[in-house]
């Protein structure tokens, strides 16, 4: 699948507002902070008896999932509903042949139903950009994960969660532990952490799960887990993506847990007030044991909750950029 346009050019309009949300790469710090601040306001909506605002009333959002997902699809759906949009959930098992053609057909059909926004998950890297390059001008596309490339809303909900515990990004040491190679989450997180000014980002994984040239992403590749997590403020663990592994990436899950799985004992070297994160779903006893996953430092369920507010922010900001101008009101 080819991308017809440069994503960094087409996801932001001339005024710097979000038209699509496809990747963190190339976005400005101010825009990321804007997303976090707007999400903070949306988080306040949960204090209401009616946990809903009328912002996107009359808009239609299609969740277009070519790859299975529970958490991401559900939180996108909830976010859209809390914005009062109408939501279509469409699960499409991707066929191997002529994917581009069938994809465009699907898009054209949905556009004919007056859909205003596509939330897209696809196992091909670049698919969200491809779709953004082919939709009608009034339609926004949000990338909900494309292959190994990007998962920008996950990265932003992680930044939101980090900021709630550690307000100053420029004073943080962050460790990312696990399957960087297959992880679109890690790529988006690394871009976001760098743009937000985190001075020290360390990663560790078996050599087979570290992409070549990882240092060029602005991270320090560590030799072992202890070196990676010592004295850090944030530990981000990644899921071992068995479904994306073809061939011998790992000797065994047992071996992986022994070397990289988080236990309370191994976490003794992190800062006492550090937080432990995981994008889910957790493989307990592989990436971490249950004592860590359910422990005091774990913010894993907060990440899930925060995903709703962050997705509300991204969706409404994309739709807002489609506003057709006209006079502002007062009074």
């Amino acid at each position: 699948m080819s991308t017809s346009q440069n994503p960094r050019q087409n996801q932001v309009d001339e005024q710097g507002a979000l038209r699509h949300f496809l990747t963190i790469e190339g976005l400005k710090r101010e825009l990321l902070l804007d997303i976090l601040d707007t999400a903070e306001s949306f988080a306040g909506v949960t204090a209401q008896t009616v946990k809903k605002v009328p912002l996107l009333r009359g808009k239609t959002i299609a969740n277009l999932f070519f790859e299975v997902s529970t958490r991401t699809r559900t939180t996108f759906e909830l976010a859209a509903k809390r914005l009062s949009a109408d939501v279509l959930n469409i699960n499409i098992t991707s066929s191997s042949a002529s994917k581009g053609e069938s994809l465009l057909d699907t898009l054209r059909n949905l556009e004919a139903m007056y859909v205003d926004m596509f939330v897209v998950r696809h196992n091909d890297s670049g698919s969200a950009h491809f779709i953004a390059g082919h939709v009608a001008p009034h339609v926004s596309v949000i990338n909900a994960g494309d292959g190994r490339h990007a998962h920008p809303t996950q990265a932003m909900l992680d930044m939101f969660t980090i900021r709630r515990h550690k307000p100053d990004f420029t004073a943080l040491k962050v460790a990312i532990v696990g399957d960087i190679y297959h992880s679109r989450v890690a790529r988006s997180q690394i871009h976001a952490l760098n743009i937000l000014g985190v001075p020290e980002i360390r990663v560790v994984a078996p050599r087979t799960l570290i992409p070549g040239g990882a240092e060029n992403l602005g991270v320090h590749v560590c030799a072992d887990l202890n070196e990676c997590i010592e004295d850090v403020d944030v530990v981000i663990t990644l899921r071992l993506q068995r479904e994306r592994m073809q061939g011998a990436f790992l000797p065994s899950e047992h071996e992986y847990f022994h070397l990289y799985g988080l236990t309370e004992e191994k976490l003794e070297c992190i800062k006492p007030d550090a937080i432990v994160m995981h994008p889910g779903p957790i493989n307990r006893g592989v990436e971490m044991d249950s004592a860590v996953a359910d422990g005091e430092r774990s913010v894993i369920l907060e990440q899930v909750t925060n995903g709703i507010a962050v997705r509300m922010a991204v969706m409404s900001m994309c739709m807002a950029s489609r506003a057709d101008g006209g006079g502002g009101g007062e009074g």
Partner: protein, 169 residues
């Protein structure tokens, strides 16, 4: 934009006048909750809240998510979380804004308030009630009434003291 020389009046005197009127209304509406609308309304509300010695903490509303012009002008870039830190069910509300103009902000604020619960009553108090209503909204307590042309705008400034000025576009 130019500032007109006409002085809209002394804000402190208007606030004294509003507080006196509100005391009268509060006789039949005990233990009210006061809520200011961002940004100017919160400034006025915090002054009235002190003057009236209201026990409940001051609430604040940012009505950005309830505006009727989202699809025309987009998102307010400086939206803040609304804060109503208590149940408003069956309570008397005093809603405060700096300027009542078209009435659209108050429409949005009422919608948002009702997403927090079902109040016993809502009173509207505004520092300035100016001409130009577009919706059937009226204030219960007014500091000052002004007749302005549509291109004239009134602005509340908070420096050492609160002051009002009229600008022309």
């Amino acid at each position: 934009m130019t500032t007109k020389t006409e002085d809209p009046g002394n804000v402190d005197e208007m606030l004294e006048d509003m507080a006196a009127k509100l005391r009268g209304k509060m006789a039949s509406r005990p233990d009210p909750i006061m809520i200011g609308i961002h940004t100017g309304g919160v400034v006025i509300a915090s002054r009235l809240h002190d003057m009236l010695g209201i026990a409940e903490p001051l609430g604040s509303l940012d009505i950005s998510f309830y505006r009727d012009d989202f699809s025309r002008i987009g998102m307010n870039p400086q939206v803040r979380p609304s804060q109503i830190p208590m149940s408003i069910d069956d309570r008397h509300i005093i809603l405060v804004d700096d300027v009542l103009y078209t009435g659209r902000t108050i429409r949005a604020a009422l919608n948002e308030i009702f997403d927090y619960g079902r109040p016993a009553s809502v009173l509207l108090a505004v520092l300035v009630e100016r001409s130009g209503r577009e919706l059937p909204v009226a204030a219960d307590v007014v500091g000052k009434q002004l007749v302005l042309k549509s291109k004239e705008h009134i602005k509340l400034t908070e420096a050492d003291i609160l002051s009002l000025s009229i600008m022309e576009t």
